[in-house]
């Protein structure tokens, strides 16, 4: 982390830092993770921070919560370059990249209003991850652009 960013968002004692999020996607990242502040977590967000690698990036820090790899891999849909740091006692104890999952479940809403997952049935949405998009495993509808617009509320 550069000094510049350190000034903007201070270090956390323990939790998860998600760095190199595509600029402007931090709120979608939180939405995908189901973090909306109601559970009382301390969350810090930096948006459109200058980045050597991405030009502009977002950073999200979630204190006292270590997010699992499977929770984080879903983020690759909106933030493919994201890096994840697990922090304990101010030290990075684990650092990894997000990997593209083969399937995402319960994260996205199928845009097909006639899909069974849009009805009042006991079923979670499930999408196969394709190159450059996702596809509903129930009705085969493909979403290519703007996945973030389909994140379940």
């Amino acid at each position: 982390m550069t000094d510049d960013q350190a000034l903007r968002v201070s270090k956390i004692e323990s939790g998860t830092v998600i760095d190199h999020i595509t600029g402007g996607q931090a709120l979608n990242v939180l939405a995908i993770l189901g973090i909306d502040g109601t559970a009382g977590e301390v969350v810090s967000i930096g948006m459109n921070v200058p980045s050597d690698r991405l030009g502009q990036k977002d950073v999200v820090k979630v204190e006292n919560r270590e997010l699992s790899q499977s929770e984080l891999d879903v983020l690759s849909l909106v933030a493919p370059a994201a890096t994840v740091n697990i922090i304990r006692d101010y030290d990075v104890v684990d650092k990894h990249l997000v990997e593209r999952p083969t399937e995402v479940s319960g994260i996205l809403q199928c845009p097909n209003h006639n899909c069974i997952t849009s009805e009042d049935e006991p079923v979670d949405s499930r999408f196969e991850v394709l190159d450059g998009g996702v596809r509903c495993e129930y009705c085969d509808t493909i979403i290519r652009e703007d996945l973030a617009a389909h994140i379940l509320a």
């Binding site: 069974i116 049935e121 509903c136 009705c139 509808t141």
Partner: protein, 304 residues
């Protein structure tokens, strides 16, 4: 065939398809040999949408195998009207039957329902999604009349919402076929169906006019263009009129052209076509019984 449920044409390999069609041929040749094969077996019918052919031919098939049916009846008289979910309804019917056929207006309904039951579940049509057993009887009819390899087929009409088209076009990719899709611009194959078909232009081509390809075709598969797909009556009439055939239209076709239609037809095939040697759509409808018998036999453990 190693499938618990029949949901989608995509799950059927060439070998699966051929094994059902071969068995259907055996049944058609000697129906008596299969007459008591599934005595006491019950097929549950869950039709949330109207159906004549699919429902009656499944009933006939099950009865001709020695079994019987239990029918949920029209959805408006069932517990669905009390707000019961499909997931619950199918779990209840599972308790009464050895296999279930489901037709439902929502895409993906059969897949979801199959996740809640252990008995074989057969998709009898899910919205604009898939209709895999129609595809099997279509393939049977094509094989009888034109053969499935080295085949040039034209599929015409409503390619966007026509579930029989979606299942058939995918299943045909298991064979050496050239597929020509003929439809108005607004009813072209949807992106999600096109995605599963080969990219090569030689095997898949789209057209807006039948006369561009009619002379090349071995099979012409016609589907109905529905009035409700168009904003107004005049536009519907103008468009639908271009995709109607009669005996004169077929003058330009090969002598051996096979004309098929999943039925019901409205006016897309004129009655004068019925008198020509091209007309195979009633034979196609009749083939539903041996093909569905073969499928049920295989799902209910016919090879044991």
């Amino acid at each position: 065939m190693q499938h618990d449920h029949i949901i989608n044409a995509k799950q059927l390999s060439r070998q699966d398809i051929e094994s059902v069609l071969d068995r259907a041929s055996d049944i058609a040749a000697d129906p008596g040999a299969y007459a008591n094969r599934h005595e006491n077996a019950l097929l549950g019918l869950m039709f949330f949408e109207p159906s004549t052919r699919t429902k009656m031919s499944f009933s006939a098939a099950m009865k001709r195998l020695g079994g019987d049916i239990v029918d949920m009846g029209p959805a408006e008289y069932s517990s669905v009207t009390k707000g019961e979910s499909l997931a619950d309804t199918v779990r209840v019917v599972e308790g009464y039957a050895d296999a279930v056929v489901l037709r439902h207006p929502s895409e993906g309904s059969a897949k979801m329902a199959s996740e809640h039951v252990d008995v074989p579940l057969i998709n009898g049509g899910d919205g604009a999604g898939q209709h895999p057993t129609q595809t099997l009887l279509d393939l049977y009819t094509i094989r009888e009349n034109a053969g499935l390899d080295d085949l040039t087929i034209g599929i015409m009409g409503d390619l966007k919402y026509g579930r029989t088209v979606h299942s058939l076009s995918y299943a045909l990719t298991n064979f050496d076929t050239d597929q020509h899709f003929i439809s108005p611009e607004s009813l072209k194959l949807p992106r999600n169906v096109r995605y599963d078909l080969p990219e090569t232009e030689s095997s898949i081509q789209e057209h807006t006019k039948l006369d561009e390809v009619l002379p090349e075709l071995d099979v012409l598969y016609v589907t109905r263009i529905q009035r409700e797909r168009f904003p107004d009556e005049s536009e519907y009439r103008a468009v639908a009129g271009q995709y109607q055939i009669d005996a004169d239209t077929l003058e330009a076709a090969k002598d051996g052209l096979t004309v098929m239609h999943p039925l019901p037809r409205v006016d897309e095939i004129a009655y004068d076509v019925d008198e020509t040697s091209h007309a195979k759509y009633f034979q196609q409808a009749q083939n539903a019984v041996p093909v569905r018998m073969a499928l049920l036999d295989s799902l209910l453990g016919g090879t044991r």
